[in-house]
Symmetry: C2
Subunit: 474 residues, 2 copies
């Protein structure tokens, strides 16, 4: 089979510089290298094989141990096997009839995740193409619970609905509000503390503010593991407020959900058993293949089905010979849907909960070790005075020329330009990938995300040395 040959062949192709994280080319250069044009005639197999080699060669090696650029990294081989099988059997997950195996596996994984979360009476859920959609499902369910009629009549004569979320939340809350006819201005952002966690008293103030304006606050989004800082909103305290005001509480645990697997770190999500819904992406910290994103809901009244169903008669026939409650497709706003749960099921089966726990513990220990690193202490500046809660290591690099200057707006302005230059040099060299960003008033800083069990202390040393090497002349 071509695909097997290809994989074997690539293993032996020494022309590919496998030790670089990336081989940088500008868009214009890369267009020439790839010959992207699609023509009337086809190409020979040998040419196609070269196209495949090129696609791999010029792609970023996100599984390289020095890829720290996003909230995913590394390769989980069992999960990759599952994703290969899913591609090969080519299954769409709408009915039990066409997807018997993956329907049951999705159900099993969801039930297990619900158990881990601690919803003792069970719940419901679905896998989505990404956490953004999961967060949007939460908004839609919360809205449906508040008023099921909106599904039919829309929002035209509805009172102004308000979503509350921290200023550090993921942008999908805002994108969802725009898409769903709620509007980005009706997402009220709640201030955060010095670590990036939502301040509960400020939440309550914003709720009262919305009410005083005649608006209807209907849900709170708490974040477990914010994108930039890896902060965990205090779920328990937020749940008290939501109970008091009868608000749907959703937790965006896409990034931080993995901590629930760890006895040592699950306290970060204390109170999650009280919330109404959770978004949790096993493709992030737990390293399932992309994509693997679960949406979980504590409800037991088929809210997901009622909220999203369209009851298409050509797909969800009610005169089938089996229990049609296994036809889960109408819980989704999609029609075609991939069997992403299988990627998590197979690796969980192979590794067991214990190994998943150890991986989380290892990644978080590794992330925290950066603080104790001698290079770090010498050349870097914590963005925040405390150790990180999670795997996001955020810091400024101070070139020697800036190290003994007094703090001033000019210094911060200068420091703001350092990370982009270091990033450019790092990309062109291809030695590693670490992201940077500004945050509120804070100048551009690096965010190194530590996930993969393949990452060693040597890799962390390398990063800190390399940033220094790339930026010491600035």
């Amino acid at each position: 089979m071509l695909q097997v040959l290809l994989l074997v062949d690539l293993d032996n192709d020494t022309s590919v510089p496998v030790f670089q994280v990336c081989e940088w080319h500008s868009p214009e250069q890369l267009k020439k290298l790839l010959d992207l044009e699609l023509r009337d005639g086809g190409e020979a197999e040998s040419e196609i094989l070269q196209r495949c080699r090129d696609a791999i060669r010029y792609s970023v090696k996100t599984s390289h141990p020095r890829f720290f650029n996003q909230l995913y990294a590394g390769m989980e081989p069992y999960s990759m096997v599952a994703s290969f099988i899913a591609e090969a059997v080519k299954t769409n997950l709408y009915t039990y009839e066409v997807a018997p195996v993956f329907t049951l596996m999705e159900d099993a994984v969801l039930r297990k995740m619900i158990k881990v979360i601690g919803w003792e009476e069970g719940g419901d859920g679905i896998f989505n193409p990404g956490g953004s959609l999961s967060n949007m499902y939460a908004v839609n369910l919360a809205r449906y619970r508040y008023c099921p009629d909106f599904k039919e009549v829309g929002m035209f004569s509805a009172p102004r609905l308000v979503i509350l979320t921290s200023q550090e939340c993921h942008y999908s809350i805002s994108k969802g509000a725009a898409l769903m006819g709620i509007g980005t201005k009706n997402v009220y952002t709640v201030p955060t503390d010095e670590r990036g966690r939502m301040i509960p008293s400020a939440l309550e103030e914003k709720i009262m503010l919305a009410k005083s304006e005649g608006a209807v606050p209907f849900m709170v989004n708490a974040t477990a593991g914010t994108t930039v800082l890896g902060a965990f909103d205090p779920i328990d305290e937020i749940a008290d407020i939501c109970e008091k005001h009868n608000l749907w509480l959703h937790v965006d645990a896409c990034w931080g959900g993995a901590a629930i697997m760890s006895k040592k770190h699950k306290h970060l999500l204390k109170g999650i058993h009280r919330v109404d819904s959770v978004a949790w992406n096993p493709h992030k910290m737990l390293m399932a293949s992309l994509q693997c994103s679960a949406f979980l809901v504590r409800d037991k009244t088929s809210l997901l089905q009622h909220c999203h169903s369209a009851r298409a008669s050509y797909l969800f026939q009610q005169d089938k010979f089996y229990d049609v409650s296994y036809d889960t497709g109408d819980k989704s706003v999609q029609c075609s849907r991939k069997p992403d749960a299988f990627k998590f099921w197979l690796m969980w089966k192979a590794l067991g909960s214990r190994e998943l726990e150890q991986r989380v513990d290892r990644a978080l220990a590794m992330a925290r070790s950066v603080w104790a690193n001698r290079n770090y202490q010498q050349y870097y500046l914590n963005c925040f005075s405390l150790q990180p809660e999670y795997a996001n290591v955020c810091f400024w690099y101070l070139p020697p020329s800036m190290r003994n200057l007094p703090e001033s707006p000019e210094l911060w302005k200068k420091l703001h330009t350092v990370a982009p230059v270091v990033k450019q040099r790092m990309m062109k060299k291809g030695s590693m990938m670490v992201g940077y960003q500004p945050l509120g008033e804070k100048a551009n800083f690096f965010r190194m995300v530590v996930i993969s069990p393949q990452v060693s202390r040597q890799d962390l040393d390398f990063v800190l040395n390399e940033i220094h090497n790339l930026g010491k002349d600035l």
Copy 2:
């Protein structure tokens, strides 16, 4: 590598009954066979290999030449290779920096599709996880063009918006209206003719009706290849009406878009060069791996970006060293997004437009050949008096006991029960898969979808014989 071993191993595993389309087990039986529980401890590699074998064995063989159950079928090997590579390199498509190759390939594929559609001044687009989302993008863009403020303020004080679509359209229009705060009741369905095509004069009547109610019609969805009948709405005539009333015209060509590739059949989409947006799924008739769904828009003013962007500072930094217009992620409502365009790019590169054209021609010729089949003429009843326009072959099977009865409500009631019984027997035997459904007043009928070039006339003969064998006692 485990995955290579697995694939090779499966080729040699003679215990898997590869000639069946499916090996039916009820959910309860299959749960026992699969041992779905996830435990604290992991399993040995040999056990995991068996889990993989079981997952494949009990999955429906959608690439089997006798799988006619959905709007996808068959296996395109080049596309599968691309999907394997995409899984292995583990790329998320938000920025050029992390996805250089696939960003450019997506752009190349979109440009080519836009050219094929005939938008001479170009356009924009994005690949989505399924055609439902593409249709929702159309609704959102149409709404944004009508009034960009809705993005910020929501729909609360907006006039009642109305979407127009045929009664045969895909259910994602209705799901989208619900999700997006427009409401399912504000989707006005337009009657269709005897072949399932929207009646343009009826469209205009519905537009006038909405206006007379004080509502604001803002978009029309035309379908090119309806789900059940494969009907094509008359785009040219609908475009005239949309121009007259200044309405956004979207074409859901998820299923029928492939006909554009064929000189012989592109007339089905006559007028598509005039429309505002198109959804087109290469994973259907063109057999790209699941999922591969393009949304295309004729606009050249970055409407997609303006409508969906949230400008997250940690992802879409504006102080990067390359042209950030290549960071396409903010055009999407997703954050993580798979490089699905590559699955189409590689097969197009390998086959060329000509081979894609021939495949479409072959599938449609094959579908039409069913009408001339002697078995068909003897035992079956066309649902519609004319040949199908596309690859959906819709028919009733008449068991001998019903063949000479006069037409009556009782006969139709009885006929309604035939397809579900035949389907049950077919699934339990595993010999083939063909779907059935009712439609409006019409009793349950079979819908056989012919796509794959692997399908032979023998396979079609087999299906017609087999339905007769399975149902002749009814």
